[in-house]
Amino acid sequence: MANEPQSSAGLYKQTLIAGLWRENPVLRLLLGMCPTLAVTTAVKPALTMGLSVIFVLLCSNIVVSLMRKLLKPHLRILMFTLTIATFVTIADLFLKAFAARMSETLGPYVPLIIVNCIIICRAETCASKNTLVVSTIDALGMGVGFTFTLCVLAGIREILSTGAVWEVKVLPPAFVPWAAMGMPVGAFITLGLLLGLVNAVSKKKI
């Protein structure tokens, strides 16, 4: 909660919390599935991916919110995608320059942030209708919620497929790694079970 804004208006706080749990982009809105499944073989790439998404989401929400009065309905989506593509190019070049190995691991999934539904969805439903401050907070909440989910999923898969977290061994050597968890199969099934778990937990609360 380090990102809590100075002003303690209820709306801001609610917007921030919404992204973290109530409207968590992956677990509740089912958005941005492709990177969620593809980069969660280990925690490190997942975190890098999450941070890149936070950066792009923040920048695009700010820009879209600033130009929201100029948007024409039929060119809306195109404007969003172009804005996002610009920031993704920046993030991609940055990763290539300063984290070359990580950039290679993530491969085409960094440029694929352009078509990450979360970012378009937030531009459409939030940034194009709200003020700068609300859009910024929304981007932070959604971005952190996304990163958090990614890390949880990656943690589960990494520990089961290699017995390590953040490339540090945590399970005893007697543990037999489940190779399937590192493959597409593991991604689909883990996410499916995680969604089921979240559904079960939130039902109980109501």
């Binding site: 597409p184 996410l191 089921g196 559904n199």
Partner: protein, 198 residues
Amino acid sequence: MDTLNILLMGFISIVIINNLVFTKFLGICPYLGVSGRIDMAFGMGLAVTFVVTLSGTLTWLIDHLILLGTPLEVTRYVCFILVIAGAVQLVEMYLRKFFPTLYESFGIFLPLITTNCAILGLCLFINLWGIDNLLEAVVLSFGAGIGFTMAICIMAGIRENLNLADVPKPLKGAPITLITAGLLALAFMGFAGMISPS
């Protein structure tokens, strides 16, 4: 004969072995959204096939005729997404004019083809794999579309039957679809190694 062989191998590999949905996780959103009924899934698949073939070819041309080797390379992603958005607009106008009922039933998912990861993903993969032959790029793009159509139709068929099954309550909807997709991915892994990597 040799080129034909390479093209055929490329086609089979992108449809079955490197299927974008099951091995590269691309195009999951429409996969979860539309794959409820077979006829809709098939229509969606055809629309995606058309867009992906068109944009795969166009982006290859733009990449090789204009961008490669110049400082303009940094604008690659912006160019790619513009081409895709244009192609989707074309399909949308065509469907609205000639197949209004299909157009209505797609709703929001049609403009969302623009943000279908399978399409941009394929354009990027063609770039990444260093395909330097126009014909090969066209065949790969078309194959990717066919592979997507196949995946989404298989899924729709399973989901139509899943409606009658007794699924535990928290797993209803998206979770069970994902788990089914996982099992399908497992089945598709059996094809790996069918063609030895060249």
